[in-house]
Symmetry: C2
Subunit: 580 residues, 2 copies
Amino acid sequence: MNRRTTSELIDAAMGRIPCDLVIRNAEVVDVCNKETFRADVYIYKGFIAGFDGERTAKEEYDAKGRYLLPGLIDAHCHIESSHLSPSEFSDAVVPCGTTTVIADPHEICNVTGLDGMEYMLKSSENIPLSVFLMFPSCVPATPFEHAGAILNAPEIEKFIDNPRVLGLGEMMNYPGVASCDETVMAKLKTAYCRRKNIDGHAPSITGPALDGYAAAGITTDHECETPEELHDKIRKGMYVMLREGTACRNVLQLLPGVNERNSSRLLFCTDDRQPQSIVRDGHVNYGVSLAIQNGLDPITAIAIASLNAAQCYHLDDRGMIAPGKRADFILTSSIDKGIKPEEVFILGRKAASDGKIILKAPHTEPENVSGRMDVKDFSEKKLSLRPGTDHVRVIDIIPGGVVTGKGEAWIKRDPEGEWIHEDDKDILKLAVIERHHGTGNAATALIRGYGMRHGAVAVSIAHDSHNIIVIGDNDHDMAAAVRKLISIGGGMTMFKDGKELGTHQLEIAGLMTDKRLEEVTACLDEMHDTAKKELQISSGIDPFMTLCFMALPVIPALKLTDCGLFDVESFAFTDIGIKE
Amino acid sequence: MNRRTTSELIDAAMGRIPCDLVIRNAEVVDVCNKETFRADVYIYKGFIAGFDGERTAKEEYDAKGRYLLPGLIDAHCHIESSHLSPSEFSDAVVPCGTTTVIADPHEICNVTGLDGMEYMLKSSENIPLSVFLMFPSCVPATPFEHAGAILNAPEIEKFIDNPRVLGLGEMMNYPGVASCDETVMAKLKTAYCRRKNIDGHAPSITGPALDGYAAAGITTDHECETPEELHDKIRKGMYVMLREGTACRNVLQLLPGVNERNSSRLLFCTDDRQPQSIVRDGHVNYGVSLAIQNGLDPITAIAIASLNAAQCYHLDDRGMIAPGKRADFILTSSIDKGIKPEEVFILGRKAASDGKIILKAPHTEPENVSGRMDVKDFSEKKLSLRPGTDHVRVIDIIPGGVVTGKGEAWIKRDPEGEWIHEDDKDILKLAVIERHHGTGNAATALIRGYGMRHGAVAVSIAHDSHNIIVIGDNDHDMAAAVRKLISIGGGMTMFKDGKELGTHQLEIAGLMTDKRLEEVTACLDEMHDTAKKELQISSGIDPFMTLCFMALPVIPALKLTDCGLFDVESFAFTDIGIKE
């Protein structure tokens, strides 16, 4: 708001000029007193002017006694996980009642560096959804792989004063914080010296390590898994996020630790929600609903998803239904069994109705964030796997999670020493091909538990450096899949016997697409069906998401980066062949 | 904290370097979970490093199971009301457990303008008490009087970016807000365009007027008097302050409206606490204790006085006992019946013990804020009162409040038309003498209910413009009292039969003194005793404070400024004589 708008809003509040809109007969959810009250809500130029009184409005809308509650705030998410560009993401989540997100563009920045930051800012600037960004703190995530960029304090300084950049994103490098790593400390300083927020990521961190982490000025955590951990982190001054993503779901785990007295220290977040989860279950409202269905007071749940997030991130213009605040709100018939938005308003305009977007986001042409496929000298030969012995280490997939087991196996090799696939063993080849800097790096390893008999699957989403990762029984299909991704700038693809079975293009950094949510989910559904039918992948294994986490060297136990097989427990590279 | 301190604090938290202090066996009040827990609290360079664990500390202090709670935050006060300079004020309130105040230097700025702002900033810079300022929004308070300065948006701009200036002070000009007065809007904008706070002052404002006030971005109110008003203001997004000053006491009135669900939207404040109240009853802790004694949960009360204020004013480094926060805390044996601090620590150093200050504040020589006594051509003749008729308007004092009645009386006049004092009528002369700009203004009126038979009392504290105000039965004593104040640069004085009965000098702007609290209260006690003995002032009337509010033209019903008798109800000047 500027001075003129403020004056006009006061004029509207005082009834001197007509409001634009009045929502009559609303049961307003007051997240400050934590109660509801019946009122006519007056809106002028996108902001709430007041309740009831002798005012006029150009337009009337009868809420017919439905609940009117503040738009929901996602306190931490990676838009990239939706596969959607920010404008498409807006169209996808606004119908779910999400009107503000605090997004960490960690994935796209790991591929495209500051160009990704620019793109995310620009493409989310004038869209219905309010998008605030946290500058990613961990690009690259580790020194054991090649990411697309290195972003340190000097790069952060270029963006941190942007009013839509609220601070530093999840500080995953907790060993770096604990050891006062100089680069990490310099990053933290860019935020706290401006009194901006620093988000945390502190799975299972307790005791003095948590003291040190909190003392560093890190104020949130979204990796809590138990009520005890929640309690401990709140005690240490942190806001704890109730996360309900696609893979990581903590609401039900954490709910026993939530009560009326500590509820002001909680937030809701989605972190990573896949497109199918958004379509089928919803967005922040899904976590809120789950909490309500499992006993949390509905108004408390709504306050956590609105007022608290606004408070934590100093977003003083939103988070409640009150004069002077943005008219971002949801209308719904019931709040006792969860939040299913029937109407969503943003800045006083109807943005969605019955789950369908009305206020579509204007599209921004992606600039400097195309696929980034700088792969040097790729050929089938790069996929060669010669362990040197028959006794080898294998990555054991653990269904439903991102953790792997550190397995061993006896394999067969051909006269040149090359690994031979055996039909009855469920051991496949995994390869990671560096795609950012043309290093020519390609590393191979063995993986067990995927189930596929014959063919290859490749994806360019491979946390956190997002090199190309491919799995297969034969180099020919694997190489074809890799070449396909290189040619289209990234995505997901499947090959069998030299034939392309299906492809989901992700042309923005190899992570996201400008296609619409419905198209994306339709394509993904078809890909899953085909994978099931043609590739016989084990039940319980998501053919694509599973691969996305096999190159993540911060999650135990055995992973593969473009630099080689990595033993997370000893935090060092290791050989495939086991020397007797 | 800078980068080095943060690294060191992490080192201390991780146990790599020894802490400075450990408070053993403390029952820590956790205002986030709203519970207590037993811990050893480690402190390094003034900040909390962590709880328990394997650490060492250079110094140990055994709390012996006593409660350790965050230092209290006064969300709104005028330091001037204590009569003390900021350094003396620090020595006075720190033993009460107040470790942070958000002060509005409204009084001194009304006398000395920006010099007052400079002085308050400078003199409070390096003292144990953390002093944050709100830039006074109403200098002058009204156009119906002469204050020492006019401070508008351009003057505010000079200070608003100072990190210790948190925003704009209480916006008393609510008609100006409601009418979108251009000067007022420009002032508001200086704060909200920087996302700084704007404090409110909205007595009995409800409905659309309150909507307009809240829509202007005003986020607090300390003028709530009923639970209904509290509820309404919280609903409209405002933080409501539970004020317990010397004259205005709202804690008991408001308490029925406070509950666990709305408690995060409340703050404690003292607003105006006289020196005697601080000595006898305490400071913020008095209001907190009153609330606890009358049923508010002790931890909730403490959270309101710490966490909530820190949150409202974005003071992210305090408000709780947690790693990374300032080691500002209180030790006390009990919290169930109120907060009587036994030990107060500031930045980990013992600042007060058993109500006595240990860490005395360094003194700052007042610069450019001496008495400001630019009074032109003062003589007894200026006190002349010729109403023109025998039927006159009189200001009726209402004991115990700042509101006056609009009375009438029949008086006697001498042959020149000059008012004659009558012993049996309890009507005295009141005069206000302009002291800032040498205008030569002096206005007189009649006042009833003070009780004094003979003599004169004068003070240079006369809200909000702080001209000299004097009451008496004869011009000779009145003039002597005025001359005394002019000669000493302001204060309070009494004369009878040409003899000075007692004087309390307030050499800083005529409002405050560099003397110590004990001296000030001893002097005031003696002044009160003398007034009682020598001047026969009515019981229930404070001889000095009563005068302080007789020139305040925003409080009904009849007041006197240096420009004349003012009818607050019709908001216009009026005559003393009533024309038949």
